[in-house]
């Protein structure tokens, strides 16, 4: 997956390399988040489908579904944190770094990583039950993740312009509450999914 991020960033870099100076901060920001979105979908789609049937049965007999979904969310969040952190580092290395307020931008990366991981974990669980899970994963997750993505891009835009932190408290609280809602719902709903 690391290779995936690096190569995507590099492809973006090469495609824009002819006109580097036309890359406005808004385009820079949007491109980064789209790369992160696709990385997240690809990384997390595997979290259920890569496990074989036998191992799932073993988990099933071993512990409660709540423990499994929470551990999956934590694991995926860590992966996403690592991926987006490294992605951000390489991205700003090759594409330049116009961010005005690094701290706030890192906060938006952390919130987005946790949010993407928790939404996509449940969706991956749903999609893995179906046959054509790769297509289904994209179709199910994109509309659900869109509000989160928009809030994140707005927050990241504030960080980019180096605005005062008080301007973006709205976005931070909304993102946090979306994260909370999603995690609670996954916790409640996953047992039903797990049984089948």
């Amino acid at each position: 997956m690391l290779l995936y991020v690096v190569s995507t960033v590099f492809v973006a870099y090469l495609s824009f390399s002819l006109r580097r100076n036309q890359l406005t901060p808004i385009v820079w920001n949007t491109l980064f988040w789209i790369i992160i979105l696709f990385t997240a979908v690809n990384a997390i789609a595997k979290s259920f489908s890569q496990e074989r049937h036998g191992r799932l049965m073993y988990y099933y007999s071993l512990c409660s579904p709540q423990a499994i979904i929470i551990s999956k969310i934590i694991y995926n969040s860590l992966i996403m944190l690592a991926l987006s952190g490294i992605g951000f580092a390489i991205y700003s290395l090759v594409m330049g770094n116009p961010v005005g307020d690094i701290g706030l931008y890192l906060i938006s990366i952390v919130l987005a990583a946790i949010g993407f991981a928790s939404v996509l974990t449940l969706v991956a669980g749903i999609a893995s039950k179906a046959d054509n899970s790769a297509t289904l994963m994209a179709v199910l997750s994109f509309p659900i993740i869109l509000p989160m993505l928009l809030m994140t891009i707005r927050l990241a835009k504030n960080a980019l312009d180096g605005l005062d932190w008080s301007v973006s408290t709205d976005e931070i609280t909304t993102l946090l509450s979306i994260d909370l809602i999603v995690i609670t719902l996954s916790y409640l709903l996953f047992p039903y999914l797990w049984r089948s």
């Binding site: 179906a130 509000p147 709205d170």
Partner: protein
Amino acid sequence: MRKIWWKILCIAIIFYVIVMGLIGPVPRLAIINESIRNTYFHVALWLAMTTLLFLSMVFSIRYLNKGKINDDDIASELAKSAIFFGILGCLTGSIWANYTWGDPWPNDPKLNGAAVGILIYLAYLLLRSSFEDEQRKARISSVYNIFAFAVFIPIIYILPRLTDSLHPGSGGNSTFGSYDFNNDIRKVFYPAVIGYILLGLWLAELRIRMKHINRVQEESLTTGDKVAH
């Protein structure tokens, strides 16, 4: 003839709404002018859609608790009629926007949210169609349905209020109830919402009955085969 009264009520209310909505008295407002009559159709359709989706979620929860396949049928058909209303709501809204905001699809957070909401529910239908086994389909799509409703409400009702939207009730605009909702509108608007909800229930009920008949027929076919063997 059992329980036919609410269908008659539904037809009566919708006729009342159409007639009163088109020729009844309305307040005069700047810019909006006569297009305020669209409130009876556009706004009421969205409210009816949200109610139907809420009912659909309730039946999904009931399915997960009790495991009766009927509850899942009801949930999915309610969601389908809600999507139908959602598309109608988009169309009426687009006509309205064309005359008051000068553009059939202005770049407005609420419009984009609505489009995403409809996409979420279309994905729900796609998810349903990708399973063979009925109980499995029912369980997994119920889980998705509950999840989808929890995402749908913030998209339509909360996020647009945080940003600048052309719709009332967002970005410092006042809500409907506060200034231009006089009694003439109320007399038609509330019946309109009830009428559309009843119409949606009726649509869903017809399709649920069709599904039941199909299921019974299939079962009798399969059992008939067994007898033949």
